[in-house]
């Protein structure tokens, strides 16, 4: 997704992005659906397998690169953002995707995630959030809800969960999106992330079939989805629900309290919802203040905000660093002999009082 020099689009099919490796996730794991969504997206964006690098840390999600027929680097726990930074600074032409999880990206690697976002390295970060440690057999994670019973918290966890999207926004990310494993909208979200120049952060809710089964059913299940999912589209009113599912609703701003609120939307005489009358706000992907409110909306009283929440590009880190490098190199030759002889020197063999 580097548009410094537009990369020629390459024609591929989903099959071209499959490796000969046996996929080792548990049967029914949400990762399978995400893998397929990515393999479906890559041909659509014209990605070139030779120019694409998937970088991951450690955890179930981080096995991802082995299953994508591109360049791949399965690094160490939490450090994928740092490795990706080196890759991108060494070769900014590479299209870099990061695959991480709630443990890898928010706990052991939280620091690196923060700095990659703050610097705005041009890459896509897919954080698979299953609210549990899967590969180490089911301990609670930094995104686990309070009271999560796990081998390390037999009486339930007591710490408050982190919100990956709020964390990313707070770190200075310029693109925030949300999706979930089996959602048909996921490829669209991935495409938008890829189109964004800069660090694009995508939280993907992912069902861990073994240790945290159906954790996201309350909003991810097809049944009731209309009332529980708010799919955000730039320039369109924040509407959800339907007449059949219990009414059309929208998100409005409670100006007095400076918070969001859910409002009922009446259907007008022409059969379209009269959202303006209800005060429903129009999604503007460049509005960071509303983005903050959207990612903090408590699920239950509010639907789950999904899709592209914030998208407001800024200059990328590698452009800035390499721009500085090339400015520093302008008009200068890399003359090693001259460099070695720099500073105050003297010549032995010439008069001592006459330093060279």
């Amino acid at each position: 997704m580097n548009d410094m020099t537009p990369i020629a689009k390459v024609q591929t099919t989903l099959k071209d992005w499959e490796t000969d490796q046996e996929v080792r996730w548990c049967p029914g794991c949400g990762d399978y659906a995400i893998l397929k969504a990515v393999q479906r997206t890559l041909p659509e964006i014209g990605a070139d397998p030779s120019n694409t690098v998937f970088v991951s840390g450690i955890g179930c999600s981080s096995r991802f690169p082995y299953y994508i027929e591109s360049y791949g680097f399965h690094t160490i726990h939490g450090r994928a953002p740092a490795v990706a930074t080196g890759i991108k600074l060494a070769n900014p032409e590479l299209d870099v995707w990061l695959v991480t999880g709630d443990g890898d990206g928010m706990s052991i690697g939280g620091n690196h995630t923060m700095h990659l976002l703050r610097r705005n390295l041009n890459c896509q970060i897919m954080l698979f959030n299953n609210e549990i440690y899967g590969l180490t057999k089911g301990q609670y994670s930094p995104t686990s809800r309070e009271g999560t019973s796990s081998p390390s918290t037999p009486m339930g966890s007591v710490d408050h969960p982190a919100s990956p999207c709020a964390f990313a926004l707070g770190s200075g990310a310029r693109f925030i999106a949300r999706g979930f494993d089996v959602s048909k909208e996921l490829p669209g979200v991935l495409k938008a992330a890829h189109a964004h120049k800069g660090a694009a952060f995508i939280e993907i809710f992912q069902n861990c079939i073994v240790y945290n089964k159906d954790r996201f059913e309350d909003f991810a299940a097809p049944k009731g989805a209309e009332q529980s999912q708010l799919w955000l589209k730039d320039g369109e009113p924040m509407l959800f629900g339907s007449e059949k599912s219990g009414g059309i609703k929208g998100i409005a701003l409670d100006v007095a309290a400076l918070t969001l609120k859910v409002v009922d939307v009446a259907v007008g005489a022409d059969g379209t919802p009269d959202w303006q009358a209800a005060g429903v706000i129009v999604h503007n992907v460049r509005n960071k203040a509303v983005a903050h409110m959207l990612v903090e909306m408590p699920f239950g009283p509010f639907p789950m905000a999904l899709g592209v929440i914030f998208d407001d590009p800024r200059p990328t880190y590698e452009d800035a660093v390499l721009g500085q490098d090339s400015r520093a190199r302008e008009g200068k030759a890399a003359d090693l002999g001259k460099l070695l002889a720099k500073g105050q020197t003297w010549t032995v063999g010439a008069p001592v009082s006459d330093p060279a």
């Binding site: 490795v83 890759i87 890399a334």
Partner: protein, 628 residues
């Protein structure tokens, strides 16, 4: 330091009729007094006068420790002369003490009969209390075994800069230049380069430049007049006979930076340097940040782990990844070093060692990270280790580290220490064209003889896998820290595979020994009664001690090891040719253990962990004891 000063009771000090071959001067003052600057400029003028020299900057960990305190003392020692100089000298001949605390913490090191120059103006009641002196040592006769020259440098400085209308604080800041002026007079040095330097340093504030120059001249003039009476004498040391050529001074940190740049050029690679600030390693990051035109990209990472991981990422993408730190940071990088070993990517890791464990002694020197370098990772994780013996030697060692990393697809650790990093020595500017290039090779086409997919872990005769840049058409593959099958690199942790790959990684690193020079004897020969085996910055005191011992007729040789891992192929046989083996090192005996382990030899330790380098006398005494 020079052999002429071997007798501890016949100090060579300015004032002796005959000029000695070498003199040791220590400047000591408050950390805000500009002693490192004074020392640095004195070093430069010494080099310009053609003397050989070695320096030892010794400063506190605090940036501005409370004024006048014992722990706030900053010192700079220089040993210079008309003979070859290899250490900063055991004991100073001259101590310049800018306050009571500086006197108290340094005077015991001074040779009996040595000269103390003290700023009497700073020996106030309050400063004496801070230095825990009950009576003024300048007045109570307690300094009788030394020559004492105490006068009010502060007042003399204030007087000299009076015409420039500086505030009291600013005026007193010129004290170091006054002192430097006196030192320049004592050792018959040209003031002109200093004047030029001051003009350039303060080019934005010509008044300050003029004031400092006035202070410098006043100090010099004081020497002229004070010569008439008292212990102060002018002393001229002839230039040391050295090979013809162009010279400059270089610190270890500079030499490492230059060597890395040269190494990357010889490998025909851009360099990526990932670093995180830490004493005493930060200077390398600072130096390289200014060398972008040499294809260097520097990255100040969020932490030590990100620093090494970004370097690994850059190496993966086809650049020469380099990271640098000191012990605590190297500890944090341990897991990532394992990743570089497992993925078999080139990487240079520079460790400027300091006193440990934990935060330890941030600004003091030690060699106690040798175990960490050789053994300090999880799993069987071998990597080559090289140790520089001096600031100038660090240049060649950095090139050697780059060469091994690129030719063997392996991380390499380069060890220096706080002493080497900060110390300066004259350096004959090397001919950049004299080094043999070692261009990096990248795989450009499928290496699978049977067709099919590329084989990223197909090893050559030396056990080295190909370097494949992402972005190369058609060579897509996956690598990672998990165990992998031979050739394909496919994820595979079956018992046979792990056995095979562990053996292959070890054999590859062991094989580095085939491509390094045989171990030489620095001084002496094979088969003598005693060999002193050193590594790293103990080189200076060891060679001087061995030289002195040999001059006394003792049968002792000096072997100094650059390649710590793998060790040179002939080292075992060489060591077995000696009756006794003595290993001096600034730790509790780490290299001694490695030598015992590798060669089953009776290596005996001589250890020191005070944060200070060995003195020649300490090693000389150990040699005599070992041969008694």
């Amino acid at each position: 330091m020079a052999t002429v000063l071997a007798e501890p009771n016949s100090p060579a000090r300015p004032g002796d009729a005959a000029a000695p071959e070498a003199v040791v001067v220590r400047f000591a003052g408050d950390s805000g007094d500009g002693m490192q600057l004074t020392g640095g400029q004195f070093t430069l003028s010494t080099a310009l006068a053609g003397n050989d020299l070695a320096t030892f900057p010794d400063f506190p960990a605090e940036i501005r420790a409370p004024q006048g305190t014992l722990f706030g003392v900053s010192a700079f020692q220089i040993n210079f002369g008309s003979t070859t100089i290899e250490t900063a000298g055991d004991a100073p001949d001259v101590l310049v003490a800018m306050n009571p605390a500086a006197l108290k913490t340094n005077v015991q090191a001074l040779k009996p009969g040595g000269l103390i120059i003290a700023d009497a103006g700073e020996f106030t009641k309050r400063n004496l209390e801070k230095a825990k002196y009950e009576v003024n040592p300048l007045e109570d006769g307690s300094l009788a075994k030394w020559d004492l020259l105490a006068f009010d440098i502060s007042a003399l400085t204030l007087e000299s800069v009076k015409p420039f209308g500086l505030g009291n604080k600013e005026a007193l800041r010129c004290k170091n230049m006054w002192t430097l002026g006196l030192a320049l007079w004592m050792f018959d040095r040209d003031r002109a380069p200093l004047v030029e330097w001051l003009k350039d340093k303060f080019r934005k504030n010509p008044v300050l430049a003029e004031a400092n120059i006035a202070a410098l001249n006043a100090g010099h003039a004081y020497g002229e007049t004070a010569e008439l009476a008292g212990p102060l004498k002018k002393l001229h040391l002839d230039p040391v006979p050295t090979p013809e050529g162009l010279y400059r001074t270089v610190t270890g940190a500079e030499a490492v930076s230059l060597g890395l740049v040269a190494g990357a050029q010889l490998a025909e690679l851009p360099m990526f340097f990932g670093g995180y600030p830490i004493t005493p390693a930060s200077a390398i990051l600072h130096n390289l940040a200014k060398l972008k035109e040499f294809g260097v990209t520097t990255f100040q990472a969020e932490d030590e782990i990100a620093a090494i991981c970004s370097a690994i990422g850059a190496s993966y993408a086809g650049q020469l990844g380099v990271t640098s730190s000191s012990g605590p940071g190297i500890a944090l990088k341990g897991e990532a070093m394992g990743l570089a070993i497992m993925t078999e990517l080139p990487l240079v890791i520079v460790n400027s060692q300091r006193g440990g464990p934990s935060t330890g002694l941030p600004t003091k020197t030690e060699q106690s990270d040798l175990y960490q370098a050789v053994y300090g990772r999880n799993g069987d994780a071998p990597l080559p280790v090289i140790a520089a013996r001096s600031p100038a030697d660090a240049f060649e060692c950095a090139i050697e580290a780059c060469r091994i990393a690129v030719q063997y697809m392996t991380p390499v650790m380069l060890l220096t220490d706080g002493y080497i990093a900060n110390a300066a020595e004259p350096w004959k500017v090397p001919d950049a064209a004299a080094f043999k290039p070692f261009p990096a090779q990248f795989l450009a086409a499928n290496n699978n003889p049977a067709g099919g997919k590329v084989l990223p872990y197909k090893r050559d005769a030396r056990g080295v896998r190909p370097w494949i840049k992402p972005g190369t058409p058609g060579l897509m593959h996956r690598i990672g820290g998990i165990e992998k099958a031979p050739d394909t690199g496919d994820l595979d942790y079956s018992p046979a595979t792990h056995q095979l790959q562990t053996d292959a990684r070890k054999a590859k690193v062991d094989g580095v020994a085939q491509g390094i020079p045989a171990q030489e004897v620095i001084l002496g020969e094979a088969g003598s009664k005693l060999v002193v085996v050193g590594w790293g910055s103990t080189y200076g005191p060891i060679i001087q001690a061995v030289r002195r011992a040999r001059a006394k007729g003792l049968d002792v040789s000096h072997v100094h090891v650059r390649h710590i891992w793998p060790l040179p192929a002939n080292l075992g046989d060489l060591l077995k040719s000696y009756d006794r083996i003595l290993v001096p090192e600034m730790n509790t005996g780490q290299f001694k253990t490695v030598l015992r382990d590798q060669f089953l030899v009776d290596a005996r330790p001589l250890t020191k962990t005070s944060g200070q380098p060995f003195t020649i006398a300490e090693i000389e005494a150990a040699i005599e004891e070992a041969l008694a």
